[in-house]
């Protein structure tokens, strides 16, 4: 174990007791391969038991540990302290989402919007399973990657459009919508397209790329959203059925 230490500034706020949020500063010994999640665990275990945060899988699969770490939303379990290149780290809750306590945010608005795009596949009744989409087709390869979303909300917290317009569906939900709209076996594609074509849908995206910048799965929701915009215009002219 090295004798190195880092200084962690952690956002603290309990809406039921505190009038204002504050930052507490902790000095924490660095261990080998330490992730930010280990930092907040260290605080909770040895310094202040009341620190609230959320995590589950610890290996970047569940998407529950997203936090705003040194200037951008990241998964706490997949962010190595050494990768930050500094011995000072500021940890805040995910932006654009209501705070339950400290670093734990309420994902409700995120999933409410997720529901609006009908995030499930509805097969055409006339199709008999199994229906095949060739795995080596271009379309399929693109969708494959977009399916990797773990609903961590990093993109949602990074998007300035979500910050200024709280009705905006946000990158993750729209990305999900695209994977379904692009699926030719789906029977409610037009309905779904109409849902994302409202003014709080795709039209709020201005190719800012903050979502792609922070996505731990390296998705580019911007591209899915562009594909949706294209299909909305095509649908308007009756070319998309």
């Amino acid at each position: 174990m090295s004798s190195q230490e880092i200084k962690a500034r952690i956002f603290r706020y309990d809406p039921e007791q505190d009038v204002e949020p504050r930052f507490d500063v902790y000095t924490i010994p660095v261990i080998k391969n330490m992730a930010i999640l280990d930092v907040v665990f260290h605080v909770q275990n040895y310094i202040d038991k009341s620190l609230a945060f959320r995590c589950s899988c610890r290996i970047g699969m569940c998407g529950s540990c997203a936090m705003y770490i040194n200037g951008k939303p990241r998964l706490a379990c997949r962010t190595q302290v050494s990768s930050l290149g500094t011995s000072e780290v500021t940890i805040m809750p995910l932006p654009n989402l209501p705070i339950i306590r400290d670093l734990a945010t309420d994902m409700e608005p995120f999933f409410e919007k997720w529901k609006k795009i009908k995030p499930y596949y509805v097969g055409k009744p006339e199709l008999k399973d199994p229906v095949v989409i060739r795995p080596d087709s271009d379309e399929r390869e693109f969708i494959d990657q977009m399916l990797d979303c773990i609903t961590c909300g990093c993109c949602y917290g990074a998007c300035s459009m979500v910050a200024t317009n709280e009705d905006y569906l946000g990158p993750a939900a729209l990305n999900r919508a695209y994977t379904l709209v692009a699926d030719k076996r789906d029977s409610i594609r037009v309905e779904r397209l109409k849902a994302v074509g409202r003014s709080y849908g795709v039209w709020r995206c201005h190719d800012q790329f903050n979502c792609a910048e922070v996505c731990p799965k390296n998705l580019v929701p911007t591209k899915s959203i562009q594909q949706l915009k294209k299909r909305c215009v095509m649908q308007k002219f009756g070319v998309f059925k």
């Binding site: 200037g71 932006p95 989402l97 190719d207 903050n210 910048e213 922070v214 915009k229």
Partner: protein
Amino acid sequence: MSNREMAVTPRFKTHSQVWSAVGMWAWMLHRLTGIGIVLYLLLHATLMGTSLIRGAEAFNATLNTLMTNPVLHLAEIALVGAIIYHGMNGIRLLLFDIGIGFSRQKEIFWVSMAIGAAMWIFVIISKLS
């Protein structure tokens, strides 16, 4: 507080942004230059329009006050810069809209900025000479 209540009362959120990314600044500048150019356009159309309607003398008089003011000449350089930025970044955005360049957005940004800067310098030099 019950869950229901918590869901409807406005609750505290942070709105920290991602300032370390090129896309954020590109968007921000696009907005600012856009709003600036709109304001200029409204002024420009009103001034040109109202003076032209009043006839040749009024037009000449207006242009004379505008074009002999040194401060306005500096403002004009800023305006042309804003238009060039908005146009060059606009080309980048149009490329995205037709599905090109998502994996190279940062490089495209810097290339378009380099071309834009060259154009701006050209305008400044030809204005000063």
